[in-house]
């Protein structure tokens, strides 16, 4: 009885969150088998098979799987599920779209956003936007879990390639299809992978001023984030949002600038290693949890900070 890890990828590269899921899989019993489903995804297979700890790779490479829709991926995973005690995927939009569908077809429960393993049937996962941790025991024979990547280390080691097994099962996609995919292009690092994140909130006042956040981020090589308030006010697009309803991040260094620290935002960033808060209100909730805080007008502080960091780095 091993563990099946469903690999998240774009047919070219494995998404880095999968490396965190692999680290979670190490805490389950038995060997790790990775499943790569896609189309013309050979480079992903090579990357996965040479990642440390992977015992075997299943590959389903068919045109029907190109866009990785849950409607035909779920029955494929079900067809392969029998030998596995655990099936793991990242708690990203990909994993959350897919795994509940697999679970229902197998008639078993699924646990979302797992952050800790207690024993082979007992896990901790976050509820109430991270304001509570629920410990659950799984009563079904199989454990279907989405893994919160920020709670587990990334596996970065390599190995000589694991055995690759081709899966011929080709399930047609009948009732749904992808029309268009608009991915946001940015030269900055992706939020969930960045070592440094600079986030701005309502305190920035308008879209124009948000450039101050971007300038600081660029000096630091950081990703840009935002609070829900800033997104709702239209300063930045939705995928910048850090928080319960946006992305959950845990970088080495997180700047919260002009962000008061609503519960919903804190839920998305409170596991960051170092938090810097810049706010004019010294009683703002963000100031209570920040490692370092500066009280004052961000329009004074931010340009100074950017300028001094620029001269430090040059």
């Amino acid at each position: 009885m091993g563990t099946l890890v469903i690999v998240e990828h774009n047919n070219q590269k494995m998404h880095p969150v999968t490396r965190h899921v692999l680290s979670a899989a190490k805490q389950c019993d038995g060997s790790i088998v990775c499943l790569v489903v896609g189309f013309n995804c050979q480079s992903v297979v090579t990357e996965v098979s040479t990642t440390e700890g992977v015992g075997r790779v299943f590959v389903a490479d068919q045109a029907n799987y190109e866009h990785q829709m849950a409607e035909n991926l779920a029955p494929l995973v079900v067809a392969l599920a029998a030998p596995f005690q655990s099936i793991l995927v990242s708690s990203s939009t990909f994993g959350k779209n897919l795994l509940p569908r697999v679970a229902a077809l197998l008639d078993v429960a699924q646990v979302s956003d797992v952050v800790n393993f207690i024993d082979s049937k007992t896990v901790d996962h976050t509820i109430y936007a991270g304001n509570a941790i629920e410990t659950v025991r799984i009563l079904d024979e199989k454990n279907l879990l989405t893994i919160r990547a920020t709670a587990f280390d990334s596996i970065n080691g390599s190995q000589s390639p694991a055995a690759i097994e081709k899966i011929e099962n080709n399930i047609a996609l009948e009732k749904s299809k992808l029309i268009q995919s608009q991915l946001n292009q940015s030269s900055r690092p992706e939020l969930t992978q960045a070592k440094i994140i600079v986030s701005g909130g309502r305190g920035l006042q308008n879209q124009q001023n948000f450039q101050l956040i971007e300038q600081l981020a660029d000096v630091l090589g950081a990703a840009v984030g935002a609070s829900r308030a800033a997104v709702d006010a239209g300063f930045v697009p939705n995928d910048y949002q850090v928080g319960q309803t946006g992305k959950v991040v845990a970088p080495m260094l997180y700047f919260a600038i002009g962000i008061s620290g609503a519960v919903q935002h804190l839920a998305g960033m409170k596991d960051s290693k170092v938090i810097v808060a810049i706010n004019k209100d010294e009683d703002a909730p963000i100031m209570q949890i920040a490692t370092y805080s500066l009280v004052g007008d961000l329009f004074d502080i931010l340009p100074k900070l950017t300028e001094q960091l620029r001269s430090h780095s040059s």
């Binding site: 959350k96 007992t122 304001n131 509570a132 268009q180 370092y292 900070l305």
Partner: protein
Amino acid sequence: MKILVAVKRVIDPYVKIRVKPDQSGVELKNVKMSMNPFDEIALEEALRLREKQIAKEVVIVSIGPTECQETLRNGLALGADRAILVSTDTVHCCLNIAKILQHITLQEQADLVLMGKQSIDGDNNQTPQMLAAILGWPQATFASKIDIDASNMQVTREVDGGLDTIAVQLPAVVSTDLRLNEPRYASLPNIMKAKQKQLDVIPLDSLNLSLKPHIEILAIKAPSIRQGGVKLDSVEDLIDKLKNEARVL
């Protein structure tokens, strides 16, 4: 077209929750309860589809104790035509909720099920996908735009890193994300009118579904509280600390 909207009664999003010291759960006594905000968005979308005459009827359903009638009355005041409460005092896992909703969906012969992508208590984000699976229907999760034309629907989905637009055949299950719309408020006349609308209470036992427990909740704990650090006086101080104390620059 008939739309079924599933709504859950949850702790109001603006209430700061308190975990009970004995780890048995979250304090619900004397706490303000509301309709799950994502479900409110689902209901709003259903009402707009009816106003555009794409939908004929909007039925709302909730599963839970008697108090859920209050949530359903609120939904009726917002404009739903009819409400169903499947009454049960047991807390069910997502899979069992999906099975109950499957029964109601088929009984009502709904063409479209709309519901929030997750409830803000359990944060599971499972029930819509599970319901779609056991119905054998396609799913469109995390919807930020819905266009319906005859039996075809196009849904824009909020995914990590951008937006996906998919075409989905009806009948289907759609789970709604925050940016789909801004829900309306109930007007006083509509609140009065809602009291006359039909609200059927069906005891769960009478449905004869075979539901078994799939997970057991052992404890609900408060997360460790992050300790705040130092208040600094200047940008120079901050850069110094980040370089020499935290060593992150």
